[in-house]
Amino acid sequence: EAEVAQSPRYKITEKSQAVAFWCDPISGHATLYWYRQILGQGPELLVQFQDESVVDDSQLPKDRFSAERLKGVDSTLKIQPAELGDSAMYLCASSYRGGPETQYFGPGTRLLVL
């Protein structure tokens, strides 16, 4: 069964350092999402891609966060510099073109900023 892949699974970093997360969506899925999930909360959308284009990054803190999906397949989310409040689970999801209803989530990257 096809799955969304994410790495690393866990990341510990010190504040002010740079971190990067990688996501490989299910093959053929044109839409890719990055979510942040704070402990005890539901996922909140950071950025949505359609192929290589950003369609929604209204909730992305652009002063420190960046995301790219250069070839319209895998994607990288970067935080620079990391802050204590960035500690959370970062989830990647993908869906078939035009079908955002069924989003398939990866296992997530749990980030701890010290």
């Binding site: 539901g42 996922p43 959308l45 069924t102 989003q103």
Partner: protein, 111 residues
């Protein structure tokens, strides 16, 4: 402003019992209401979903009840099993936007 309010925050049910989780929404433009199940260390997985043109949808032991006039929908888990112990999220979306999630309900089914 929280657009999807979920309750309870946590729930303990005995094996074989019925688990009920409720959600309320404010935006009448929402037209798709899924439920996601999340196990520790895993990403959320779609469990069941409903559109507002029906009042109920059943898949196995899982049922969504939808009340459009009250702007509420709920998940019922019949014959709850210890393997159902997980966090459940309701969500909602409208055309052209992405999912808005509730805060989640941690369900524990005791043996």
């Amino acid at each position: 402003q929280q657009q999807v309010k979920q309750s309870p925050q946590s729930l303990i049910v005995q094996k074989g019992g019925i688990s009920i989780i409720n959600c309320a929404y404010e935006n009448t433009a929402f037209d798709y209401f899924p439920w996601y199940q999340q196990f520790p260390g895993k990403g959320p997985a779609l469990l069941i979903a409903i559109r507002p043109d029906v009042s109920e949808k059943k898949e196995g032991r899982f049922t969504i009840s939808f009340n459009k006039s009250a702007k509420q929908f709920s998940l019922h888990i019949m014959d709850s099993q210890p393997g159902d112990s997980a966090t459940y999220f309701c969500a909602a979306k409208r055309e052209g936007s992405t999912l808005t999630f509730g805060k989640g309900t941690m369900l524990l089914v005791s043996p």
